[in-house]
């Protein structure tokens, strides 16, 4: 993996401002559909915020709090794998530069 002078993705995301929705995730994965379509590796590399990860048991982990709300994962996910909406009112990323 490449790194640059500005640190890892996680370190960079730490500089962003988020209103984290602790009650509900705006992203859910249908694990059975994801397994059938082998969608894990695709979601992992498409997402610039590293929201998705492959867990030890082979399921897809979702760190919705890091989401940059671009919608790239929804655009490439095989049908039925992903339920993705914008976070609830006032929640999620708050760009201060944009």
């Amino acid at each position: 993996m490449n790194t640059n002078q500005f640190g890892t993705v996680t370190e960079r995301l730490d500089r962003n401002h988020y209103e984290t929705d602790v009650e509900q995730s705006h992203i859910t994965v249908d694990q059975a559909a994801a397994r059938a379509a082998d969608a894990g590796p695709l979601l992992v590399r498409i997402c610039p915020a590293h929201v998705y990860s492959i867990q030890a048991d082979g399921t897809i982990g979702v760190m919705a709090a890091a989401c940059l709300e671009c919608g790239a994962c929804l655009a490439v996910a095989p049908p039925g794998v992903l339920s993705w909406r914008y976070p609830r009112s006032g929640m999620g990323i708050t760009y201060r530069e944009g």
């Binding site: 655009a75 009112s89 990323i93 760009y95 944009g98």
Partner: protein, 436 residues
């Protein structure tokens, strides 16, 4: 709000969803004409969900707000445009600087969190009701007519809804205007904003005062994935990143964040950023389908503007979205104003928007560049041509005591080494002339 103009059966004459450039321009123009307008924005502040590469070809804003150039939070006026070919070992630039660009102020760099917040304030000044922090969940329908919006348990009614909700437009999906877009119509932009002292930026990019530089980079910056890199100077920061076509990104097995990092650490790019501090890391989808991506723009009671309408253009030299957004907002407001005066919100009435938009610079440019997306599918753009160019220039500048050859035989020799065939070069050049 002009309560006296409000019909009793609606909460607002018009509800605009999304306080980006398209939404703000539409709302502003309608409020100026005396209509009651709600501008609903899901971010806690206008602009807080928005992200652009950063160049706004803003001449169109003079039609909306004459004070735009003087008052808007503009970062820099773009006076230097660079088209760059990047390889792992070379950086070839077409560097165009022109003082006339500074005088006209046609292209400026912007940061959307600042720009959109300002635009929304201007909207409030002319009577628009701004409601930030409201996520609109869907459309309120009465048979085939759209009569308002749903947000949580609340509903709000209006004569017309304007979908200005961006490239992912869930309102367009709800209205049946678009389903899943083909991935070759979409790209993901991954961007960092890097803080640097303004004197350092002016020195590093050879700029005076509020002048700015814009780089469009192709070649190795995406490791062969369709798309490119960009670098724009702000007052005291740099917006830099990559735009990656989704179909190619999926196919080539690359990671979007790795390609972003790879670009920033390229030895030709890293020195621009040296000593800088990361302010923000963001991403956004880009509509890259050009005209093929522009679907229906109306339904009874609904008008679609800006990114939601697929109005973006990649011409190779310029990346445009915000000017097309503003242009569509102007035409949408005009059509809706007429519809409100006549009390006719049918498809036929609102279709005047599509026809009129087609006649403006927005529709004309979408037509002019209709072949551009196909041209950019050509993989030779993202590797072979950059290498070819640097091989030719290497032959020119690397005086290694071997006898020189004229330029043409040198080009032919470089071409022979390159996977590009002379016929392909000729064909691609012809395609470029036709498409761009």
């Amino acid at each position: 709000m002009n309560a006296e103009n409000q019909s009793p059966d609606v909460d607002f004459d018009v509800i605009v969803v999304g306080a980006g450039v398209a939404g703000c321009v539409t709302a502003y123009q309608l409020a100026v004409k005396g209509h009651s307008v709600l501008l609903a924005e899901r971010g806690p502040k206008p602009g807080s969900k928005n992200l652009s590469g950063g160049v706004f070809y803003c001449s169109v804003m003079k039609e909306v707000m004459p004070e735009f150039e003087a008052e808007a939070p503009i970062e820099r006026r773009v006076t230097r445009n660079c088209l760059s070919f990047l390889s792992p070992t070379s950086f070839v630039n077409l560097d165009y600087r022109d003082e006339r660009l500074a005088q006209n102020g046609t292209a400026v760099t912007v940061l959307r969190a600042k720009l959109d917040d300002w635009l929304a304030t201007k909207c409030e000044d002319v009577g628009v009701t701004l409601m930030p922090g409201i996520k609109v969940d869907g459309l309120l329908k009465d048979a085939d007519r759209i009569v308002g919006i749903k947000a949580g348990d609340d509903t709000l009614r209006s004569h017309v809804v304007v979908a200005a909700d961006g490239v992912n437009s869930f309102l367009c999906r709800d209205a049946g205007i678009r389903a899943t877009e083909p991935t070759n119509h979409l790209a993901v932009g991954v961007k960092s904003v890097i803080r640097l002292p303004r004197e350092v930026i002016e020195e590093r990019f050879n700029l005076n005062g509020d002048e700015g530089a814009a780089y469009a980079v192709v070649g190795d910056c995406t490791n062969g994935v369709g798309g490119g890199g960009f670098l724009y100077t702000n007052i005291d920061s740099i917006s830099i990143g990559v735009v990656l076509r989704l179909d190619d990104l999926v196919e080539r097995g690359e990671s979007s964040s790795d390609l972003h990092d790879r670009f920033l650490s390229n030895p030709a790019i890293a020195p621009f950023l040296k000593g800088g501090e990361l302010l923000e890391y963001g991403s956004h989808l880009v509509a890259e389908g050009g005209r093929a991506m522009v679907h229906d723009l109306t339904r009874p009671g609904l008008v679609v503007v800006g990114d939601a309408a697929g109005l973006t253009l990649n011409t190779g030299l310029t990346l445009r979205g915000m000017d097309l957004a503003a242009g569509s907002g102007i035409v949408a407001a005009k059509t809706i104003d007429t519809a409100l005066q006549q009390g006719d919100f049918s498809q036929a009435s609102l279709d005047a928007y599509t026809a009129e938009l087609d006649a403006t610079f927005v529709g004309q440019d979408m037509r002019t560049y209709a072949k551009a997306p196909d041209f950019f599918l050509n993989p030779r753009m993202y590797g072979d041509y950059g290498r070819l160019l640097s091989d030719v220039l290497y032959g020119v500048y690397n005086l290694d005591m071997k006898p020189r050859r004229h330029l043409l035989p040198m080009v032919m020799a470089a071409l022979k080494e390159s996977p590009v065939k002379a016929m392909q070069l000729a064909r691609d050049a012809y395609a470029a002339v036709r498409a761009l």
